[in-house]
Symmetry: D2
Subunit: 165 residues, 4 copies
Amino acid sequence: MGSEPTNGIDPEVVRARVEDALATSEPVFGRFFLARLLDLTVTYDDEQQRTCVELPFADFLRNPQGSLHGGVIATVMDISMGHLCHRYLSTAVTIEMQMRFFRPVNGPSRCEGRLLRPGRRIVHLESHLYDEQGRLCASATASWHRLDTDSQSQTPQTVAEPGNT
Amino acid sequence: MGSEPTNGIDPEVVRARVEDALATSEPVFGRFFLARLLDLTVTYDDEQQRTCVELPFADFLRNPQGSLHGGVIATVMDISMGHLCHRYLSTAVTIEMQMRFFRPVNGPSRCEGRLLRPGRRIVHLESHLYDEQGRLCASATASWHRLDTDSQSQTPQTVAEPGNT
Amino acid sequence: MGSEPTNGIDPEVVRARVEDALATSEPVFGRFFLARLLDLTVTYDDEQQRTCVELPFADFLRNPQGSLHGGVIATVMDISMGHLCHRYLSTAVTIEMQMRFFRPVNGPSRCEGRLLRPGRRIVHLESHLYDEQGRLCASATASWHRLDTDSQSQTPQTVAEPGNT
Amino acid sequence: MGSEPTNGIDPEVVRARVEDALATSEPVFGRFFLARLLDLTVTYDDEQQRTCVELPFADFLRNPQGSLHGGVIATVMDISMGHLCHRYLSTAVTIEMQMRFFRPVNGPSRCEGRLLRPGRRIVHLESHLYDEQGRLCASATASWHRLDTDSQSQTPQTVAEPGNT
């Protein structure tokens, strides 16, 4: 197994990223394997109740056309909203999410999440993804169902199953 | 660096998956790195003009609550629709995608994409994700912008930049 | 006040429609004023758990370009899904709705609603609008929040306030 | 046919509204029949490139539960975005629109539209609806397809058919 580049992807870079993710991941918010594989940095602005998720660029995240894959963008946006919900309201599961794509992303990006409507049961959020030049490249809105307010009828197993609402 | 399990994730399984993806990926539809890392199998029903994308389950794809991460589901659905567009119409870029989550996924799944409205410029598609028991776990609808019908004003560079419409 | 046509709209047709709606409307499902003004006919297929809402065409429903206004389409689709929820599950309020427009509508249309995922708390539905030739002209998907399963914490007033979740 | 109230709706108020709409409507932006029936006032902030659409409350716009019908909200939001597109970019047709409902509306409201991404072919917009107390009651995002940039291949008839893309 050599370390020669494969279609622009340097195998050693991928292997180092994977080993780091294996060594540092835990099944908790902010540190689960996919978040570590993407090398995300999640920070919070507690006064404004916002999250910022930073995503470094990596060749292995490209789509067939060469820019950051839309599924990776969806993953990062989902994380920016889920972490926000978890920190300021309660654990919740995604009901639906809509994503809009404005520009291809070809470098580091950051994703800013904020609450649109923090309802007692249903929470609406939005997230914006910017590139290094500060240009808006994608946006997302989503609704989540809070698990705390229906606690009487939730079993622990159900609580652990996102989406099962 | 040992191969002992980390939070339910077997490092050897992850490493084998990564090496296979490095060895078999190419920057083309169906074989780019992320599609290979997820070990996707894409098949087509040319008569019905449908795609089927099969996704094996893997521990490293779990969210903090333990089931398949919504971002992975988004990635697979996006691929099911992009491949469909590419095979039956033309290369196209995602304008927007909305995803709905019905049930958590905890095993292998398959995603079936079909055309809703194959317009000359704008294409609407939908995709449904089922678990091994055949239960509907998630659905997505999306619109894509075809790049072929505006060819006069598209430069090759623009064609290569998804979302830049 | 004459009955001469105003930009293609026959005032007498509008007045007759309004008088009929005033005479036949009640603040209940299927018979509230807007549903009567649009002259909707709502029918159900109880075996398949589907609704069909028929909308006659009228000149006063045109947009500035001359076809059926998207807001009217949204109204009819919302009704097709709300009535479905109400008949087969419980009263519920719309969390969100996404609509897709495929073709302009210039004549009578019908809207068919069905359940995508009848959850205990969150219900996902979809609706398709067809023209007289049976062509798919628009589609919608939506999620609704059921009010029955949270009955302990709902006051009658809250139940009467759609969207307040 | 008397003018006695029908389920909270004063027939004379409805008739006066209808006569005013018949007398003042024209098949143009801002003055077509539905916009006049809803008694909308559309204003623009040219510096910020925003629209504001004001909607007076009327009993005949209620849903079966008693608040402003979601289809009316959709109509007003669609108008706020279509007018924005028309004034600052070009005529365009709606590809899709997603609406989120946060609070029931029981009085006058105003809807503020702004451009999210004014692309050369695809335009993304958003709109927020506020009640008299300034509370956010609903939001919408949408994508529209501009008709000017594809002018070579558009026939006048196609231009007149929204959604036919």
